[in-house]
Subunit: 232 residues, 2 copies
C-alpha cells in the first residue's frame, strides 16, 4: 500500500521527522516565485527560474511542492499574509469591511497577477483562513445562515479582485501607445458602421472628458455599494 501523500499542500508537514533538514523553506520558495511573477508576470514564473534564484537545482523544488499548481497556492497564501488586519472587529462593521477591501486592493496592486489566479483556485491556506476569520468576526452580529455569509465573503473578495484586475488592465492599456492607437481606430471604425448607436454615443461623449482623477475614490464608491449589500 502506497502512502499516497496528499495533493493538498497544507496537509503536508513542512518538515518531516526523518532525513536531513531542508535547505529551503516554503516561505522562501514562495517569495522567490512572487518576486518573479511581480517582475515578469505569471507566465514568467518557471520552476527553473525559481530554483536558479534560490541557488537550488530545479528538481529540488519538487521536494517541497508536488507540482507547479501547488506552488501557486503557496504564492497566493503568502500574499494573503500581506493583508494588515486588526486583531478583531472595531464595532463599525462597515468601516472594517472597507478597510479589509483596501488592504486587498493594496496587495493586488503590488501583485498584479493575483486577481486572475485567485479565481481559479480555492484559497484555504493559513493566511487566507485568517482573512476569512476576520470577515466572519465582523459579521458575527449579523443574523444570517452560515453559507449565506460565505457567499457574501466570496462576493466581497470577488469584487475586490475584479476592481484590481480592471485597474491593472487600464494600466497596461495606457502603457502601450500602439495598442491604444489601434483600440481607438477600431472603436471609431465600429462606431462608424452604425451597428452600435448607443456605444457610438457613449464613445463620443467620453472623448475629451477627463477620466475620474482619483482611482481610490472610484474603488471606495464601488466597494461601498457592495458592502452595503453585504450588511443589508
Amino acid at each position: 500500500m502506497t502512502t499516497d501523500r496528499p495533493e493538498l499542500i497544507w496537509l503536508r508537514p513542512e518538515r518531516s521527522a526523518r532525513g536531513p533538514v531542508p535547505a529551503h523553506s516554503r516561505a522562501a520558495i514562495a517569495a522567490a516565485a512572487i518576486a518573479l511573477a511581480d517582475a515578469e508576470g505569471l507566465a514568467g514564473v518557471s520552476m527553473r527560474k525559481i530554483a536558479a534564484s534560490l541557488g537550488a537545482g530545479t528538481m529540488s523544488l519538487y521536494n517541497y511542492v508536488p507540482a507547479k499548481e501547488q506552488l501557486f497556492d503557496l504564492m497566493l497564501d503568502a500574499v494573503a499574509g500581506e493583508w494588515k488586519l486588526p486583531d478583531g472587529p472595531s464595532g463599525d462593521a462597515r468601516a472594517d469591511l472597507l478597510e479589509f477591501a483596501k488592504q486587498g486592493l493594496a496587495a493586488m496592486r503590488r501583485h498584479a497577477w493575483v486577481p486572475a489566479l485567485i479565481l481559479t483556485r480555492p484559497t484555504i491556506g493559513p493566511n487566507s483562513l485568517r482573512c476569512t476569520e476576520f470577515f466572519l468576526a465582523v459579521m458575527a452580529e449579523n443574523d444570517q445562515p452560515a453559507d449565506a455569509k460565505m457567499e457574501l465573503f466570496a462576493m466581497l473578495n470577488g469584487s475586490i479582485c475584479m476592481y484590481a484586475q480592471w485597474e491593472a488592465n487600464q494600466r497596461q492599456a495606457g502603457g502601450s501607445e500602439q495598442w491604444q492607437r489601434e483600440l481607438v481606430t477600431y472603436l471609431a471604425q465600429a462606431a462608424a458602421t452604425g451597428d452600435y448607436p448607443h456605444l457610438a454615443a457613449t464613445f463620443a461623449s467620453s472623448i475629451g472628458q477627463a477620466p475620474d482623477l482619483d482611482p481610490d475614490a472610484v474603488f471606495t464608491r464601488a466597494i461601498g455599494r457592495v458592502v452595503s449589500i453585504i450588511l443589508a
Copy 2:
C-alpha cells in the same frame, strides 16, 4: 518601411485581396479551439491540437492569428456570440439586465474556462460590442455619465463571471472524492487549533445542513442585488 500589421486582430481583414482563398475561417478555428477548451480545459488548448483537429499544418494557423493570445480573443468573442439577446430593451430594465445575466451564466456554464480568461483580456470583438450595445440601450433612460455606465457594465459582467467561476469551482471540488476528503480533513484540523473560532463555528453549523438546492435561485438573488445597485 514595414506595413506593421496591427496586433489587434479585429483590425485585420479576415481575407485579403490578394493570394489564394484561405482554406479555413476564423470562425472554424475559434470553434475548434473552443471544443478543445471545453473538453480539456484551457491548458489543453495548443496550436498543434487545433491545427490537427482542422486537418491543417500547425504553422498554417499563424496566417490567421498573429499569436496564441489573439486566438483567445477569437474564442471569447465566439462565446459572446452565444448570448441570445433581444433586439432592443423591453422597457423593463431590471428584467432585461437579469436576462442578460442569465444568458451570460448559461454561456459560461457551457464553457467553464471563460470566466478566468475574460478578466485578463479586453473583450471588444464584434459580438462583445453587441453585448455592450444592448446594455447601453437598456441604460439609455438612466441619467448617468458615460464612464459611470461603463463601470457599471464592468461590474455586472464581473459579477456574472465571478458567480460562474465559483460554480465551476464547486463542481470541480465535488468531482474529486479525494480532494473533498482532504479538504474536510484540513479544515477540521484548522478548526481544532482554536485559531479560527468563527470559522470553526461556521464550519460546524454548515455540516449536516443541506446546501442551497437551486443554484439558479442563488444566482438570481446575488445578481438581483447587483442589478439593484446598477439601476439605483
